[in-house]
Symmetry: C2
Subunit: 350 residues, 2 copies
DNA sequence: CTGAAAGCGCTTACAG
DNA sequence: CTGAAAGCGCTTACAG
């Protein structure tokens, strides 16, 4: 353990960190006025403000978040609550949140959790209350848990829910609109000429499973196509379930010529199943995924998939929490979009 | 934004959170004595302690980390500083740190960074100083940057460096001993009967590149084998570099019958190169990776690789920082170990 | 638009 | 072993 060095033994850089009192004294004002400047209060005369800002810049003063938090009754910390098992999702979300928090004085604390745990809600409450978090970002599938949202309301903690569809007041929601991604997948496969099209859904406990499917089905119908009952099967968003369902679909008497998997993991499983059954992708069967995580471009063939802009979504979520305006941003950047790679082609000639 | 509810409008659960003063009053002692109990000071009579602990338990009192931090001069936050681009590594490390921090009152704040950025050191200093972090965990490759360690020493912040080999005083080091993993890979390939064995290293700027290689080479030599100059090539720990180097190695007049890639990403690239050149794995060529990240079991064939116990390493790092004893734990659990899957077999009959 | 007072909930010396 | 005082660096009412 590194022993903090005392001023006496210190190196060159031992000058005590400036406090609000130093700034007030040097600027010839009260600390309350300095506080107003820090907190961007409009009730400060322009010249007073400038003088104070000059001193702040000169001393490189940064208010102590610890002290600020204590007086303010709330820490300058934003919590990320997640249970998504995909590391790529988690890291992208963190990066997006940090993008927005950069230079804001806020810091990001992380809280992985398990909704199935009996202590799930108590742990969450402890996390938020103990640190008096400024706010939390809930991501799927925790974001879809009404108990978690109710808890945030009960303890008066600001929160934003990231989910595929609206589940709460607009101010609490960032919608990823997975339905649109499902539509894009359908359009792509229909355009290629497929008619025998299958869908492997995620588990029914995830909203995204439904959204991705209904967007897909809806867009097929609009093109005069139909998702046959036998071709709509239920997976679990896992690689293994992709193998299983893929094997079943491809072993049918009349197998589909295209399979839309609810996420990349399952798509990877479907590719594996095709390989095991000696089917070529995309010559015999086309495969589309959802997410565009790293695996998509590592697979063979590389995977056509629907990209979800997770980092951008994270940025929006943090801005919302910090009360920053998040309008005026290109709304397209936060929508799912199709990435065409090698795993899709026209259906085989019958 | 959720408006914090005031006591007046509150629900059932609005009782004010207990403070140290409440505990002191109810236990009939001074708050200083309560403070001693909170901080596990030995200078409290057993019966006094018990009485106080009873009151604490009854009110569900949790000391405010914010206030504690302000008085203590240091926040109860541990920072994770990383630049490893692999999400699986980052998430596993976070989980390990949190395993150890659970129930400790500490919280984890994350700081991704870029060593090549001109503001790298200033950003890091800002991160640590602004929040007065209790301590930080540095992971590769930041952990190998002497400037970062020097900065921590200068500002008196406790730190632990996770690296493949010792680079600092023992108290600051958690060694992952990648060299041993290299040895295991060599032993496995030698046992299978390979003699024409190649190695694709990571970039020379990573210590792990050297450690993995020298362990590998050393164990080969011990078995009377030799890593030929032409078979030792330099990659960049990326999928693309794995494809390139794999293609080159397999296009040689006398290609190797086994390739040890410095990490799973590059191994995935080597598999891809083999496929492109029409070589079967493992019939024509065996491939071994390093890390055992998720991709290893998703590849086809599934990848024989060296598992690194990242989560366990994270746990150790956090315990070290919090001043907890980390001996008495099975030391084997923190060592790299070989996982044999489908990508390795005996060399083809000449 | 600005300030003096009180307080946020703890801990660190300093006494005893 | 225990406590009264002072202070950590800010902000919230409350005045003016």
């Amino acid at each position: 353990m590194s022993k903090p060095r005392t001023p006496e033994e210190g190196g060159v850089e031992t000058r005590r960190r400036a406090t609000i009192n130093d700034i007030a004294r040097l600027a010839g004002v009260s600390k309350k006025t300095v506080s107003r400047v820090i907190n961007a209060s409009p009730f400060v005369r322009a010249d007073t403000r400038e003088k104070i800002e000059a001193v702040i810049a000169e001393l490189g003063y940064v208010p102590d978040p610890q002290a600020r938090g204590l007086a303010y009754g709330r820490a300058f910390l934003i919590g990320l609550v997640y249970d998504n098992p995909n590391p790529q999702y988690v890291v992208n979300m963190q990066l997006g949140l940090l993008d927005a928090m950069k230079g804001s004085g806020f810091e990001l604390v992380v809280h992985p959790c398990d909704r199935a745990s009996p202590t799930f809600l108590d742990d969450l409450r402890g996390f938020v209350e103990r640190q008096r978090l400024f706010g939390v970002v809930l991501t799927p599938s925790v974001s879809e848990d009404e108990r978690a949202a109710a808890l945030m309301n009960e303890i008066g903690c600001a929160y934003v829910r990231v989910a595929s569809v609206s589940l709460d007041k607009a101010e609490h929601m960032i919608e990823t609109r997975d339905r649109l991604g499902g539509r894009e997948a359908a359009a792509h496969l229909a355009d290629l000429g497929h008619t025998r099209i299958a869908f492997v859904s995620g588990p029914p406990t995830f909203r995204s499973s439904h959204e991705r499917r209904s967007g897909f089905e809806e867009a097929l119908e609009e093109r005069g196509l139909h998702l046959a009952k036998a071709y709509a099967v239920e997976g679990a968003y896992t690689y293994e379930s992709g193998i299983e369902r893929g094997r079943e679909l491809l072993s049918m008497a009349q197998p589909p010529t295209a399979i839309f998997a609810g996420n990349d993991e399952m798509a990877a499983g479907v590719l594996q199943a095709a390989r095991q059954l000696g089917r070529r992708v995309p010559e015999d069967v086309s495969v589309v995924g959802f997410d565009d995580f790293q695996i998509a471009s590592r697979l063979w063939p590389t995977l056509t998939t629907v990209r979800t802009p997770t980092r951008e979504i994270g940025r929006l979520a943090a801005e919302r929490l910090m009360g920053r305006d998040d309008t005026g941003r290109d709304p397209k950047s936060r929508l799912p979009s199709l990435v065409v790679r090698e795993s899709t082609a026209a259906p085989p000639k019958a």
